[in-house]
Symmetry: C2
Amino acid sequence: MALTPLIMTIHERVVRPRFSSRLKPPPADTIEKNDHGVIIAGFGRFGQVVGRLLIANGIRPTVLEQDAAQIEILRRFGFKVFYGNAGRLELLQAAGAEEARLLILALDDAEVTLQIAEEVRRNFPKLTILARARDRTHAYELMRRGVTLVIRETFGSAMDMGQEALRQLGFRPHRANRLARLFRQHDERAMKEMFNISGDEKAYILESRRQFELVAQVMQNDKEEAAEESEPDENSPTR
Amino acid sequence: MALTPLIMTIHERVVRPRFSSRLKPPPADTIEKNDHGVIIAGFGRFGQVVGRLLIANGIRPTVLEQDAAQIEILRRFGFKVFYGNAGRLELLQAAGAEEARLLILALDDAEVTLQIAEEVRRNFPKLTILARARDRTHAYELMRRGVTLVIRETFGSAMDMGQEALRQLGFRPHRANRLARLFRQHDERAMKEMFNISGDEKAYILESRRQFELVAQVMQNDKEEAAEESEPDENSPTR
């Protein structure tokens, strides 16, 4: 890979190796609560997108990030970010965890996310947690700890890619969008249902295959509906 | 973390460490082309979601995966997957790259993705590539290599999380959805525009801040529109 210009790493990437030797750790921050009761832990490529959407809508989250290099960059981009480890209770407390409305766990580290979720459930039982999961496995681990608002970190983009693939293969944008939406609804429902049997290998595989046949059936039925709506050219776009 | 039951690793996770000692590498596969002219390289948590959407819609991609343990699991789940490194030209050729309609690069490794993209551009110039990017930086690298259909691997899920956060803060589902859609449109347009200055640090930071103010303005204007449509309770959901 060609040398990536420094600037390009900013929005969504941590440039630890290049920066950390030059930076001394920032002084201990005095965390301030925000008016809107939202805390974001982790402000890398994932947390930033969440945060930017909130900020653009007038909501000012209290952002905690423990990578000094990342903070340095974020500040140049105009973000207010506090230095610190969201796993430390006193830090979450300072950020207002006691009375906050929402804690967004957007860390890259799946293991640390589980630890924080457990600590928070125990110490701030009223606080709603919205968590980034690595994958389905990690999502189940979070659900087991009582975190029900879980977003798998690549699922949404994979759905976007699938939708784009359908378009490239000749599906109309509107139709590709609809099929992706149906698929997603089915997948999210199935995931919740299958949580209960996630410890039983055989049952899980069987149910997974059954669910997949079900969703294919849903797509197929929807195709027929589309045909009735006279969109015949979209029924065999790949031939 | 509690020991994860084996079964749970299946859908979206590679269990290399547990499996690879037990498995001998599979015999060299005879790759078959598929009727629909779609090749997917990489069938981990990301590629599987893309593939499942396509398969559910009657499209049978030729899937290449180079992790033997992953393939073993995928086959138990009923997926037809070929063992092999998508970076090898003769393998892509066997998969039908010459006449395929679409190559989906869904690998986890950003560096390998760039290498394959370059090779494919050179050897199969007519083949459309749809690529998974690690982040904005990596997306720019792909664009520099002539790949224009690029999906950042966590962007979609981060948008989903932002939308869910808005809902949790009292925005109506329909409105949260609309705001996320506006934000996404803006971000994707801005990314394409900013590609041209991505090598110039100062200009990039300035433009990034300007774009962020722009999108906040768009959200704000949209709020006002919403107010005119008499949805007054959604204008200050977090107070």
